[in-house]
Symmetry: C2
Subunit: 325 residues, 2 copies
Amino acid sequence: MKITVLSGGVGGSRFIEGLLRTKGPGDDVTVIANTADDIRLFGLHISPDLDTVMYTLGDGIDRERGWGRTDESWNAKEELGAYGIEQAWFGLGDRDIATHLVRTMRLQEGRTLSEVTAELCERWRPGVRLLPMSDDRVETHIGIDRDGHRELIHFQEYWIRLRAQVPVEEVVIQGIDDARPAPGVVEAITGADVVLLPPSNPVVSIGPIAAVAGIREAIERTAAPVVGVSPIIGGGAVRGMADQLLTGLGVDLSATGVAGHHGARASGGLLDGWLVDTTDAGQVPGLQALGMAGRAVPLWMTDDATTDQLARDTVELALSIGRRG
Amino acid sequence: MKITVLSGGVGGSRFIEGLLRTKGPGDDVTVIANTADDIRLFGLHISPDLDTVMYTLGDGIDRERGWGRTDESWNAKEELGAYGIEQAWFGLGDRDIATHLVRTMRLQEGRTLSEVTAELCERWRPGVRLLPMSDDRVETHIGIDRDGHRELIHFQEYWIRLRAQVPVEEVVIQGIDDARPAPGVVEAITGADVVLLPPSNPVVSIGPIAAVAGIREAIERTAAPVVGVSPIIGGGAVRGMADQLLTGLGVDLSATGVAGHHGARASGGLLDGWLVDTTDAGQVPGLQALGMAGRAVPLWMTDDATTDQLARDTVELALSIGRRG
């Protein structure tokens, strides 16, 4: 079976770990990772979601933090602060820097982000084919109010420095209109047996991936069922900081709200099916009304067992929906 | 008194520390640092001599090693090795990386190396005016024999990876013909009361500085006495690794040999005076025959007291020679 996953960072990575532990021996997993939260800082090209997937699946992640490297030190970051560099709010670990250096160096040599990702994965051997959504530069900026006037700041600054606690007035995905899918991305979607959306942020993770025109089109035309997992459980984001991002865009803070935001494939959206938490079981009929299959299962990935069961449930819902046409 | 020093890295920095401890309260020190051992590695612009001077005088140097930062960690370097990056032989410390990141970022923003150096020195407050010899890119490459054919490698690779143990067939200072003195450099030489050459490598430290046409010319026309300290004591380099570099260029491994390599100002060279170690006192008459003042004093900078005395002796020799014209 060919499984293709559209993924953000932390939630996506954990879900994929479950998928890899539970998949059949002949199953292949391709991960298309969001690159819209990439940022150039300190002259470095940083790809947080690609790195989180790569480190998590390659067993290099700090599991407690959920991002960044194991056995990390923060000396370069401390020194950047001592130099008065303003962006030293970014979580730049010393081990992590090596990844950014290799990526930046290769991009400057004229390689694509796909090629660099493949090179980095030669070391990490994540057990999946890891593809950036696009080799073109895409950056999510968040519009906030600063003393009465609108200011656009990079998503990372919003997320890390402001801890996502400021109301969101606008989300601008710069470069998205010109972004082409990276090599292999379209084929991975159209050639898949199932396409899965892990519990990732609908606005800044899944949103940008699906906003790449060629990817959107591939999702529209793939025969594979597309099934997602709600990142909202009982009215709050699994990783709490996403609340402002959703409400700022008028997305209802509920499993059904996010499903409606993505939309049903039957009516030009992304989803054939949507998993909600058992505490949200009452929303399943509403999902069916939206035009998608709904199912309530435990969504909290608190340990390997629950994560594995969620991966199984997601694949099962997809298979129960079956291929189109 | 205005004191201008042409400096390489370790030896120069130690000498300047002595100078700062012993100078009069109204004396100003300007340091013109070699930038020909600068290297671009991992996409970073690294300026080893500038950094060694800055860290040493700003009390950020690891005194035992003589280069790099105190309390340093090496995680990024280890990771670069794990990625199979070949140049991971370079001593890239995690704290040190921050300096390279700031420098590289600023240069990419269009600032000059002089401007970046000034910015970095705002933090380190080295107590001197620190100027790069040039804002133009200059790189020393060493010609070695590899299986019967000549290969040019960067000086840093020769010095660090090969530990300077391979015969030198050629020294090529790339870019030197087009390099202009950085702002303030010419004035610092022509306006000085004394110009001092600490015990730095004559081929790869003092050599490139003096090879910048505008600097050479400023040395020719300054009225200030120019006095140097031999980096050779009793037939060996104070920092042993320089031997191959000197002999490969036909420089006699002696205090007088290096003095002759630099040449007397009276005959178009660099020096009005030269300090040799007391063990080399027998060479003083030969120096006078070369057309420069010679004096034998203890040259080993083993502690603050000996370093300070050497700084005093150097200034004293310069003052005893006096201004020209």
